[in-house]
Amino acid sequence: MRISFIKTLTQLAKKDKNIILMTGDLGFSAFENFQQVCPRQYINAGVAEQNMTGVAAGLATEGKIPWVYSIIPFATMRNFEQIRNDICYQNLNVKIVGIGAGFSYGPYGHTHHGLEDIGIMRTLPNLVILCPGDPFEVVVATKAASKYNGPVYIRLGKAGEPSVYRKKPDFRIGKGIVVQKGTDVTIIATSTLLYRGLEVVRALKGNGMSARLISMHTLKPLDGSLVQRCARETKAIFTLEEHSIIGGLGSAVAEVIAEYGHPILFKRIGVPDRFTKVIGRLEFMHNANNLGINQIVRIILTAVRKL
């Protein structure tokens, strides 16, 4: 995802000299080309994310379009108040890019896990939150964020995420994408677990179940009408995310369903509300958090059996 992002941003920056890439001292073996192609549009602000975010706001008041980049906890939490006051409160055209969604940095430990970002960022007025689910969605999300005049948070995985699509999907901010049609149940997935959603849909098919897969790439504004349609058209909705079970996609969808009033089986699948006691690579961390394919399939089948 990182490479798709930086390639796209480089193209955009070549055409728009106001675009400025700011990094909190990260980007080794990813940003070198950008630095070379657009040297005057690149700032390594050092390991000082609060200042970087405030500087970005100041640049934006003067018509620059800063893209602020760091690992998710340092791009959204260390500097949360700067994002709130300096960027969102003033509704400035700053893009915040967080890398390392969920357990992308699994072995590093909880400090580097990106698990609460959507929850906190979703509370901020004026902010658009994009969580692309594969390299194609990263390209179109980056372009959409660039076209949008206002604050955007883009949540990225890291590297090597498989493609869900064969070509660039039709991407509109605030409009979920139906990746797979299905009639029995709906799986709404986001960010790094979109591909997992596809795997689960295939596995469910083997169990005789027709599952619909939605890519909810925009967490804010959420595509509530799509959620409502799925509630009407299928028997159950499951949300799937590599984020804390509190505050993320599951919570956002639950809010829509609860207020919609249409009876539907609903279950959130995400990371339990705890600091991880184990560390390990991505697949290991998924399994440790019940996010493996078979684990998710079991959760869904068990829930549906109760219907």
Partner: protein, 276 residues
């Protein structure tokens, strides 16, 4: 050097501004009066002598910008902006009151002349550095002034920004620290000692000057010479007295941060100002 406005006139203006501050404070029974009073001369000198601004074109591209980071004291800025003609004095009547335009902590574009939303300490200098950097990128002549409080310099983000501005040689950035020596709940030297203060800024790549923050001519003289050194941001450490020109018992006291004047105190303070 002859100024467009005489020192006597400036002093008269400062008195007028202090009256407005006290009136706003009395009317809204608001806190944060001491720090508003301590930075009056910093603002009058900037807006009447130093900054290139045109109240008729408050958002002119080539204007000098002011980031008022110690925004809890915004009523001082409001009073000076209205004196300078940025907006009608009547607007001051709504300060911190229902439906008023003027918040306790200033909001970007709420009235002409307010460049940024601020209020959380330590946010102004990074934003000012960002503005100054934009000016540098585009080879602009305009400058960015930022007014900070000394207590605010407890915030780590101030020093992140100081490091950044020094590193990027932002000599179009000028900080004025309203060093009144008091913060929320004590003297700065007792709460979290900032000394050696000027040496800290120098160590971060800034050029420093120290001045009596209530002496218009001394301030003017220093501010005419910015940048103090080409390729370095400038900081003016202005020694001030919190609550000066306000209710006597709160002058240089922590209470000036919190206590609005009673009716009697307000009348007495006005009388004292008029007899100056």
């Amino acid at each position: 050097m002859t100024y467009s406005i005489s020192t006597d006139e400036l002093k008269k203006l400062a008195r007028e501004v202090r009256k407005q501050i006290l009136l706003m404070s009395y009317r809204a029974q608001s806190a944060h009066t001491g720090g508003a009073l301590s930075c009056v001369e910093l603002l009058t000198v900037l807006y009447f002598r130093i900054m290139h601004i045109d109240p008729k074109k408050p958002w002119a591209q080539d204007r000098d910008r002011l980031v008022f980071s110690k925004a809890h004291d915004a009523k001082a800025l409001y009073a000076v902006l209205s004196e300078r003609g940025f907006f009608d004095k009547k607007i001051l009547e709504g300060y911190e009151l229902d439906h008023g335009l003027l918040a306790g902590h200033s909001i970007r574009h709420s009235v002409p002349g307010i460049e940024i939303s601020a209020g959380s300490l330590g946010h102004g200098l990074p934003m000012a550095a960002g503005m100054a950097l934009a000016g540098k990128i585009d080879n602009k002549k305009w400058r960015v002034f930022a007014i900070l409080s000394d207590g605010e310099c407890d915030e780590g983000s101030v020093w992140e920004a100081a490091l950044f501005a020094g590193h990027h040689k932002l000599d179009n950035l000028i900080v004025l620290v309203d060093k009144n020596g008091l913060q929320g709940y004590g003297k700065t030297k007792d709460v979290l000692n900032l000394e050696p203060f000027a040496a800290k800024w120098r160590a971060f790549g800034w050029q420093t000057r120290e001045v009596n923050g209530h002496a218009e001519d001394g301030l003017s003289k220093i501010l005419e010479k910015i940048p103090f050194q080409s390729g370095k941001p400038s900081v003016v450490i202005a020694h001030t007295i919190k609550g000066i020109g306000g209710v006597e018992k709160h002058v240089d006291q922590v209470s000036s941060q919190y206590k609005p004047p009673t009716k009697e105190e307000y009348i007495e303070a006005l009388r004292a100002l008029e007899s100056l």
